[in-house]
Symmetry: C2
Subunit: 409 residues, 2 copies
Amino acid sequence: MARINDNYPKLPVSYLFSEIARRVEAYKQSTPNADIIRLGIGDVTRPLVPSVVKALHDAVDEQAVAATFRGYGPEQGYDFLRNIVIENDFIPRGIKLEADEIFIGDGAKSDIGNFGDILSVNSTVALTDPVYPVYVDTNVMAGRGGDSVDGRWSSIEYLPCTAKNNFVPELPTSSAEIIYLCYPNNPTGTTLTRERLKTWVDYARSSEALILFDAAYEAFITEDDIPHSIYEIEGAKEVAVEFRSFSKTAGFTGLRCGYTVVPKSLQCKTLSGEKVSLNRLWNRRQTTKFNGTAYVVQRAAEAVYSPQGRKEVRDNIAYYLQNAEIIRSGLQRLGLNVYGGISAPYIWLQTPDGISSWNFFDRLLTECNVVGTPGVGFGPSGEGFLRLSAFGDQERVREAMQRIENWKI
Amino acid sequence: MARINDNYPKLPVSYLFSEIARRVEAYKQSTPNADIIRLGIGDVTRPLVPSVVKALHDAVDEQAVAATFRGYGPEQGYDFLRNIVIENDFIPRGIKLEADEIFIGDGAKSDIGNFGDILSVNSTVALTDPVYPVYVDTNVMAGRGGDSVDGRWSSIEYLPCTAKNNFVPELPTSSAEIIYLCYPNNPTGTTLTRERLKTWVDYARSSEALILFDAAYEAFITEDDIPHSIYEIEGAKEVAVEFRSFSKTAGFTGLRCGYTVVPKSLQCKTLSGEKVSLNRLWNRRQTTKFNGTAYVVQRAAEAVYSPQGRKEVRDNIAYYLQNAEIIRSGLQRLGLNVYGGISAPYIWLQTPDGISSWNFFDRLLTECNVVGTPGVGFGPSGEGFLRLSAFGDQERVREAMQRIENWKI
C-alpha cells in the first residue's frame, strides 16, 4: 500500500480559524438573535477599487476575442506586472531588481508554504513566537519540526515576542539556517525599525542563515523609520527572500495575487558544500509545479499601480488604519495594555487579570458578541493575548468598541 | 549556510518547451521572414466562450460592491462549484461523490505536482513512457527518482507505450506504490478502453497501489467504450485520485482552474502500517499551503456547466477535434504511421525512416516552418515520434498540412 508523508499525522487536525468558527457557530445556535461582530480573521471587507474593477473587465473582454486571447502565460508572471512592481515597490526605495528576480504567484500563503520545497528537509528553522501558523505547519509537514512537546516543536527555535522585550525578538541562539520574519507583524501588529532589521541582516550574513521575510502588511506602514522592504538594508539581497501580497494592500483576498522576490545573488549550499542560486531552483519549482496566475488577475494587480489605483488603494488602507486607531484608543481608554495597530491592521491586546486567551475569547464572544482571535493560537508566547483585526466596517467597529467600553470585564 | 533540497540539481536545467522555444527563436533570427505555424505546445487558441465571459463580468461586478464582495473563500473551493461538478461530471455516469471529495484548484499541473507532498518520499513510482514531464520531475524533486541513467530515473519504473503494444502499457512488474495514468493520453493521444482500465483498477486493488489518474483531456472523448472517469470502474474509489482541468475543456489555460477528486474511502498507510484517509491529508495540505482559486474564476467554471455554456464549450471541442482529423487524415494520406487524434487533441506521428525526434523536429521547422514537439522529450519510448497538437486555428492547420503534403521528406 502506498505510504503517506509521516509528518502529516503529527499536526493537529484543526486549524486555529476552524476552531474559532466552531465556537462562534455553537454560540449562534444557542443564541440565535445575537448580533455578532467579527474582528477575528484578517480578511478585508472593502470591495475591489474602481481601477481594479475596470482592469478586470477590460482583461475579460480581451479574453473573449481570439485576436487578444491569452492562454498559458509565463509561470513566473507577465513582464508588464514584474516591471511595474519593480518601478513602484523598489526603485523609489533605492532597490535595484531585475524582472527575473520577481515571481508572480497566487498569494503569499502559497509561496511561503511552497518555498520549503527547494530547501533541505534537514535545515534548521527559527521563527518568532507568536507567529502566522503557516510557517510552523509547513515546516512540520516537510519534516523540519521534530516532535510536539507542550505546544512547541522540538526542532524549531522559538524567538519569543512579548511585552517584556517590546515584541522585538532576540537573535537566534541555535545555528538556525532558515529564519522567518514578518514585519509589520501578524499577529502582534508591531514593527521592526531599520536599525533593528539591520541587526538581523548582519546576523544572517555572518551566520550564513536564510531570512524568509514576509512583508504582506507593508502598505500599512505609517512610521518613517520602518523599512518597507528588507532590501532597504545593505546586503539583504545575499540573505533574504521577500514575500509580498496584494491581499491586504488592495483587497485581493478573493482574487489571489502576490509576488516573491528571489535575488539572483542569494545562494544556499548543496550537501557537498557547493553554492547554488536559489533563484534558479525557485524558477525550476514554479515552472514545474505551477502554471502562473490568471491573466485577468495580473492585469488587476497592474492597475493597483496606476495613479488612480494607488489613490483608491491608499484610501482603503487609511480607512482600515482609522479602524485600528478606534480599537487601539478605545482599549487604551479602558486602561488595557494594547500593542500594534499603528503601522499594521492588527491590535494585540493583553487580556486583563491574566485571563487565558481562550477564556477571554469566550467571554468577549458571549458577553459582547465580538469575535477576536486567541493569541495562544499563534504560539505559546501568545498566551494571555487576543488579536483584533481592523478590517471591519467602520460603523461595526465603533459598535464593537462601544460594547467593550460598557462591558464589566 | 542554509542547505537546498539536493534532489533539485539532479534535474536538467532546461524544460522541454524551453528548448523548443530556443530552437524556434534561433530559426526566426536566421530566417526573419519565415511564416511559422505552431502545432507544438498544447495551448488552446479559441477565446473564452460567451457564457464564461458573462459569468466573469458578473462576478467582477459583485466584487466591486461591499454588499456582495467576497474575500477569502474556502480553500477547497465554493460549494456552488463543487456541487455542479458532481451533478454534471459524475452523477450522469453513475458515480456518487460528496462535495468534500472535490477540491477546486488553480489547475491540474499544480495539483498533480503538489499531490506528492502528502505521500512518502520513499514510495515507489511507475509511469507510462512517454509521459507528461511534470509527473517525472516532481517525483525527482521529492527524492523518488534515484539517479538519471541514460535518460531514465533509476527508482522509477517506466511502462513503455509503443506502436508494438498499440500504446497500451503493461502492468508494472515492480511493486510500485504510486502509478500515474493519463487518459486520453498526453502525448500520444491514445485511450484506454473500459475493459483495459478495469485491469488497472483491479491490479491496484490487489497490489494496494495508488493510481493518480489525470483526466485533463476527458472532454475530447468521442468513442463509446472509453471511460470519462476512472470512477466508472468498480472499486476505483478505493485506489484512485482523479485530476480534472478546465484548461482544455473550456479554454481556461490563462484563467487557471481545475479540480481533484480524493474519495473518502481512499486510504494509504503510515510507516507503522496504520491506514490513513488521503482526503483528510490533502485537505490539510490545501488549507495550509493554498488559499483557494479566485472567486471570479470559480464563477466562470460554474458557467461552463450551464446549458448554453455546455453547448458553446462542445462547439470549441468539436472545432479542435476537426483539426485533429485534418492532421491525422493528411498524414495518413502520406503513408505515415499516426496514432491518437480521435478522442484526444494530440496526434502522435512516427517519424519516417527512423529519423530521430529532434532531427525530424528540426527538419519540419526549417523545411515546412511547422513546429511540433519531439516525442523523445516525453521520455525514452517517445524517440522516433513527434507530437502534433490540434489546438491551432483551422486555416493555419490546413496550411500546415498543405506544406507537409508538398514536402519531400
